[in-house]
Amino acid sequence: MKISIERAALLKAVGQAQSVVERRNTIPILANVLIEAEGDQVSFRATDLDIEVVDRAPAMVERAGATTVSAVTLHEIVRKLPDGALVQLADDGVAGRLSVQAGRSHFSLATLPKEDFPVMASSEYTANFTAPAQVLRRLFDKSKFAISTEETRYYLNGVYMHVAEGEDGAVLRCVATDGHRLARIDADLPEGAQGMPGVIVPRKTVGELRKLLDEDDTAIAVSVSETKVRFATPAITLTSKVIDGTFPDYSRVIPTGNTRRLEVDAQDFAKAVDRVATVSSERSRAVKLQLDEDRLVLSVNAPDAGAAEEELAVAYGDERLEIGFNAKYLLEIASQVDRENAVFLFNSAGDPTLMREGDDTSAVYVVMPMRV
């Protein structure tokens, strides 16, 4: 194999590969990226056995071939090369070495045979559809903060992507929850997604997927089976196993009878919460909300650290209410609001609270109160 490739293209491809490889693995080849050159393009493949990413980039291929080298080392080298450099990769020198040449820099990296590189078994996808990057970006960006990190409830360690019945018919829905908060985000159902099996997309996959979604109008080809999910752009294919578990019936925990309605500017609200929470020394900082006729008083009382209070003008017309929340949870859900005011719907100080953006029900958040 002998190829020449532009540094920027190489950096992007290897960057994605090195973030997929498992850093603490005991199988050496899993730390490597498989480089395959053919025709006028080169592909970079990396896997941790749960996720596989293939990144294709145009290159001048002098001699086709394939080899594997440490993804992290190659990425570090390319990152440190000057912008605009032309990089040559060749395996024709010392056996078992890949030569990396750029300008006057020369590196020789140990390789492992390409035959040892694990290839993810292909899957029969039962649903295939295409969705614009911005639609998927909204679905996952707005839900991923609620993914649980509790390993004992492994079925919550991802985003549940499925087809659901929305107010105006079927929708493509993403739900994540850790038991303290929940995010439910809907999008129009893309053509071909009907009958798609519901899958739990693991946290790491969600993180990797995000890198495919930067450009608004890229069409993302999505394929789903019971066990795998695949997201593809013309240049990158991301294949991942899904979490083998049953996502809990979230619909029964989304409150429907909450009537006390608070409307507030989300940014002002978040800033005020952040300010008052400063005085708390606890790891999970509790903020108390006192609601009264168009008035919201946020307060924190930490006996050994201090106290803080801030008043906000809001729209609230129901009876008095005092309710506590974890400041971090409030900040996270408030930061999901980007267009209109945040609308909170409360029931009592012990019941889950619902939050949405204006009257838009396509993004709904639930947060559990905290005893204060």
């Binding site: 509790e150 390993e151 004992t152 409830r153 919550l156 929850t177 850790d178 038991g179 303290h180 908060r181 929940l182 809990p248 925990v253 606890e282 790891r283 999970s284 509790a286 506590g324 974890n326 012990g350 889950p352 639930v366 559990m368 109160p369 905290m370 005893r371 204060v372």
Partner: protein, 417 residues
Amino acid sequence: MPALCRDCLTRFDSGPRCPACRSPRVLAHPELDALSIAHVDCDAFYAAVEKRDDPALRDRAVIVGGGHRGVVSTCCYIARIRGVRSAMPMFTALKLCPDAVVIKPRGDRYAEVSRLIRAKMDALTPAVEPLSLDEAFLDLTGTERLHGAPPAVLLARLIRDIEAEIGVTASVGLSHNKFLAKIASDLDKPRGFSVIGRAETAAFLSGKPVGLIWGVGAAMQAELETAGIARIDDLLRWDRKELGARFGSMGDRLWHLAHGEDNRRVSAHDPVKSISNETTFDADIAARDRLEGHLWRLAEKVADRAKARDLAGRTVTLKLRRQDFTLLTRRQSLREPTQMADRLWQAGQALLAQVAEPGPFRLIGIGLSDLAPATVADRTADLLDPGAALRAEAERATDRIRARFGPDAIVKGRSLR
């Protein structure tokens, strides 16, 4: 050189025997009057209590330990002569010493005797740091004018009184810091009194294995070995920064200890770091429902203790001991601290469910660590477990019933498994 008779407490200028009572139990050391950090360690404590309570056992080998199986918890010096050691499996111990009297530990009784000893220590200084029922650090700095005698005399009197009035013997280590005092108490057991002075510290440590250092176990020893450190002298060749870089905070501590420096205070109020409970089974158990039954009982005990101290913990640790005595531990961080038996059990049960090994196991334990005050515990309910709030209320009600009518007044069915 100042000297002290350990029998009649007469102080004199060194000699082989006490000029007053002719006892040979003379303690002479150049720094005898200048040292004030002590470690007092009872000799074969559990066995000694048993012998005290039943004089018929006096001349027999006594092993205190768990039933037919289990391990030796303590053995008397007669059994030690035959090669029995604590932590040895009981069957091995009985092979070495078949005529030994095996006694099941009576924890409450030992705690009772320990309290008597503790009271005597407390009369000497407020700075008593108990390490367990049978050993404690004492800082006697500045007590000389109060008691009219230097620390060495107070300690000799303490030991003499414990022996005469309580009926168990103890050994004392006296030095200028905790690390050396602890080592010293072990030098001359039983009924020992050893002194390590400042002047002799370096010479004393020279040539000693690193395993002598408190906190350096087998794993740490192996790690040090790979760095070419086997003896305390080897540590002296290292630069403090390099040791710190290689072994973290432990490296820094090792460097100081190797130089005979230890500035930890003798603290009576060491904060609790974890609350745990475990049980060794009469016969190994593989059945998950029976393990869960044990787990529930232990979770309830841990929760009881947490509630009694107004504490809660963020990390739940499950502990299982395999048949070959190796330990398996699994831990989980909770999103907020808890002191509820129910949450503890839920987490422990989930951890147990993830243990793929079929067992059988000989021990199960559960613990709560990363402690926080109870005021920040259990403040957020679980959306996905609406029954949890009800169960928490039931647990609080149960606690009130048990407080009034005794711990067995109301129990969960699963604790009977």
